[in-house]
């Protein structure tokens, strides 16, 4: 049934299971709801139940799997379940610093309206973080777009990038890291995952609790309009032709209002428990999810007068007020009698702040509108007894390994193969994107993704820095969802190790297709297992995350994309050289054993079909390697370090050279295969740049640690970028500046081609 029959109902009209379908409830779920509340819900109640039990809010398909993620650890202060996870940065200091962080998807909205979709995605994740009491100091994003040749791709890239910049720049958070890749699998479903991290004192963490009978429930921030009604159910559904008319009104972000909110909230937090009891942002499913979740966490109830909710439009119904996804709004519970003090803080920042109800003790959410009770629902059962499904899934089939023929075909034209890797939109420099993000606001950015393997941002007024990266090799995940997910974690840990940081926490955003398709559910299950396994071995807990399902249009689903955000800490930023400029003559040393095959490598993607058997990564050895590089990076002769990732060693060397603005030359040690060593990705190594005097020292330390190392070459010896095989024969040789110019032009050309193509 379409939404129109539901639209005709009034707030208090009773509903049927068919109306249930219109809010995304299956027949079983509708009956479950009836049983739970002992009667048939009216329209408002049905709307609340539909939203709370949507995939987006209830995680009904993924919850059974998420339980397997390791979320405990000595540094974990707040694990999954709250708005964001919180990790201890200064374990020895009871009043010391902590970081709150989370990653969240805004995929569906960004496809419909790229600018606003991406902007409100950034806004949402920032609110999740500052709701915990943290001041946001860094943001990242992971973007996946369709083929460059797809007619929609250029405008989607342009809109999403502008949207992220438009919101983050105005709010004042530096966007320090961005991963953007392209693949036909995302033609009809882009991925926009936004990450935010904030800092707070560990003895001042706030949670979304509505406790204390009689305490006022207050609404702050923007007024409520008819934006995005049913957004949560939309995110729990796939796109298909003909559904366009059911699109909700697009949410428009107001970063300025969010800036006012963060300042006002932080001032309120300063005043502490004298004024405040609990606070939560209104995210997906708006007022509904915040009220039900806050009450259920505290085991309390709330009585709300919806006439007090500031509305942007006239004549809004209870149903609309409860389900609107207008942005930049929060709910808080204040101490009784302190309404005026709270209001004064928000008024200073020119924000609306209204008391809309009180906390009760009967565990029920009661809503009144125009003097009539329009909703009486138990909070905890609705939040806790949401349906949970063990959806059937099938273990992903392992693809065939590469054959000799596949590899031989590739080897015929080594120059082209290397060029294809270096000049692919997925590996090409994202300078065009980064420039549109303010990466330095806060004046604490030591390194960002334009020049380093990971971002490094100082905690204000301290000598501590936080390292971050947000990663996923979706192609490897599509070959092997488990191993690919393992490697997403490894990539993040490797990146932050390369800037000298110790990994302290992980957040993940699981982007998959439909949970109703057993193969796709199997990818999710395997992805969770992969993350769980890697996090266990690498001893880093998962403290927050998000699941985005139904990323499919008709039959085409996205590549399995578990985005993994890794956060690390550098205790004393004096120990990491501040982005020391590299100079001609600096030596490039490879650390770690090189790959011996091309299984799962980017060079073969799209050339051999879905083929390639990724070997199981030796996590223990990789962990030791990362730790070793981290220690090398701290002080001494190592000026910079990078792991070999997408595009293998060739790409890594090129990035080194490009960022240093110096060409590079590399020769393989004896007995190595040119293709496996330069383009293989089945194993992780690092490249470090070392000043000339330090070469012997670094090699000795490697030998002492039993870690393989090889001097490959140096920076700036000539004007060409040259790769030589084990025999010293030149296989790839290009004028460096030309190569850089070509690579830098890839993304801007893509945008320009969009203009031409729509002609």
């Amino acid at each position: 049934m379409s939404k129109s029959a539901l639209n005709k109902l009034k707030d208090t009209d009773l509903t049927t299971s068919e109306h249930g379908q219109a809010v995304g409830l299956s027949l079983d779920e509708f009956e479950r709801a009836v049983k739970l509340i002992g009667r048939v819900p009216n329209k408002v109640e049905l709307g609340c139940i539909g939203a709370m039990w949507s995939e987006h809010c209830s995680y009904k398909s993924s919850r059974v799997h998420l339980k397997r993620l390791p979320s405990a650890g000595p540094r974990v202060l707040v694990g999954p379940g709250e708005n964001a996870g919180v990790v201890d940065v200064e374990p020895g200091n009871p009043q010391g610093w902590a970081v709150a962080f989370k990653v969240e998807s805004h995929n569906h909205p960004s496809y419909i309206e790229p600018y606003q979709g991406a902007a409100t995605g950034v806004g949402g994740i920032l609110r999740d973080v500052f709701t915990m009491g943290a001041r946001p100091i860094a943001a990242m994003n992971l973007l996946r777009f369709g083929r460059v040749a797809h007619p929609k791709t250029p405008s989607l890239v342009d809109g999403v990038v502008r949207g992220i910049g438009g919101y983050g720049n105005c709010f004042g958070v530096p966007t320090v890291y961005s991963s953007a890749e392209f693949d036909a699998a995302y033609d009809g479903n882009v991925l926009v995952n936004a990450f935010a991290l904030g800092v707070l004192r560990k003895d001042r963490i706030w949670k979304g609790n509505a406790s204390g009978v009689g305490n006022p429930v207050m609404y702050v921030g923007a007024k409520t309009g008819r934006d995005g009604i049913h957004g949560a159910t939309m995110a729990s559904d796939s796109f298909s032709a003909g559904k366009e008319s059911e699109r909700p009104t697009v949410q428009v972000g107001d970063p300025f209002k969010e800036k006012l909110l963060v300042e006002a909230c932080l001032e309120l937090f300063e005043r502490g428990a004298e004024l405040l009891v609990g606070i939560q942002d209104m995210g997906a499913a708006g007022l509904t999810s915040s009220l039900f979740e806050m009450a259920s966490r505290a085991g309390s109830g709330v009585v709300i007068d919806l006439d007090q909710v500031p509305a942007r439009e006239t004549g809004m119904t209870a149903y609309e007020l409860m389900l609107s996804e207008s942005q930049e709004r929060m709910v808080l519970v204040a101490q009784a009698g302190k309404d005026d003090d709270v209001r004064a803080i928000f008024h200073k920042w020119d924000l609306d702040c209204t008391t809309i109800g009180t906390v009760s003790d009967d565990g029920v959410v009661r809503l009144r509108k125009d003097g009539v009770e329009v909703c009486v629902l138990p909070a905890t059962p609705l939040a806790d007894e949401a349906p949970r499904y063990e959806r059937p899934f099938t273990a992903p089939a392992r693809p065939e390994p590469l054959t000799r023929v596949d590899v031989q075909a590739l080897k015929k034209n080594p120059i082209q193969i290397v060029l294809d890797v270096l000049l692919s939109p997925s590996t090409a420099p994202k300078t065009w994107i980064y420039k549109q993000y303010d990466r330095e606001v806060g004046a604490g950015t030591l390194m960002d993704g334009t020049h380093a393997a990971a971002a490094l941002v100082r905690i204000p007024e301290t000598q501590i820095a936080v390292a971050l990266a947000l990663c996923c090799n979706s192609r490897q995940c599509s070959l092997d969802p488990h191993e690919g997910a393992v490697r997403a974690v490894v990539e993040g840990v490797a990146r932050i190790s390369a800037v000298g940081a110790v990994a302290v926490g992980v957040t993940d955003c699981l982007n998959y297709g439909s949970p109703l398709v057993p193969e796709q559910m199997g990818q999710l299950a395997a992805g969770v297992d992969g993350i769980a396994h890697a996090c266990r071995v690498l001893e880093v807990p998962v403290v927050s995350g998000n699941v985005s399902l139904y990323n499919q249009t008709d039959d085409q689903s996205v590549l399995p994309t578990p985005a993994v955000g890794v956060v690390g800490v550098v205790d004393d930023l004096a120990t990491v050289a501040p982005a020391m400029p590299l100079k001609a003559g600096d030596v490039l040393i490879r650390i770690g054993a090189p790959p011996t095959s091309l299984e799962g490598s980017f060079a073969l993607w799209g050339k051999v079909g879905r083929k390639g058997a990724l070997p199981v990564l030796d996590l223990a050895a990789t962990s030791i390697l990362c730790g070793f590089v981290r220690d090398l990076r701290r002080g001494g002769h190592v000026l910079d370090a990078r792991p070999t990732l997408l595009g293998g060693l060739a790409q890594c060397l090129f990035d080194f050279a490009r960022c240093a603005d110096l060409s590079a030359r590399a020769t393989l040690p004896v007995d190595e295969d040119f293709f496996a060593s330069f383009l293989g990705e089945e194993r992780l190594c690092f490249v470090v740049a070392v000043d000339n005097q330090g070469v012997f020292d670094v090699q000795r330390r490697c030998a002492d640690a039993g870690i393989a190392s090889a001097v490959l070459g140096a920076l700036g010896v000539s004007s060409s970028f040259r790769l030589q095989d084990s025999g010293g024969d030149v296989v790839f040789d290009r004028p460096f500046q030309k190569l850089v110019d070509d690579a830098e032009a890839v993304v801007p050309d893509l945008i320009a081609s969009g203009r031409r193509r729509s002609a």
Partner: protein
Amino acid sequence: MRARVIVRLKPGVLDPQGAAVEDALHTLGFTGASNVRVQKLIELDVDAADADACKLLVLEMADQLLRNPVIEDCGVEVLQ
């Protein structure tokens, strides 16, 4: 021929800019100002035989570039 396109946010779509201008007007003492909306107005010369052809052409431009159909409506006027 000179034409004018007014691009306005659809009803119900938040206009943060309009709201901010309204607030600022109030602070400046213009308390009687309300429902402020900030819109875009694009004026351009068009090569067209007559007003009808001009209007059609500009509507086409609006659909392809000047407005974002997801959040914006537009109106076209031919000036001379």
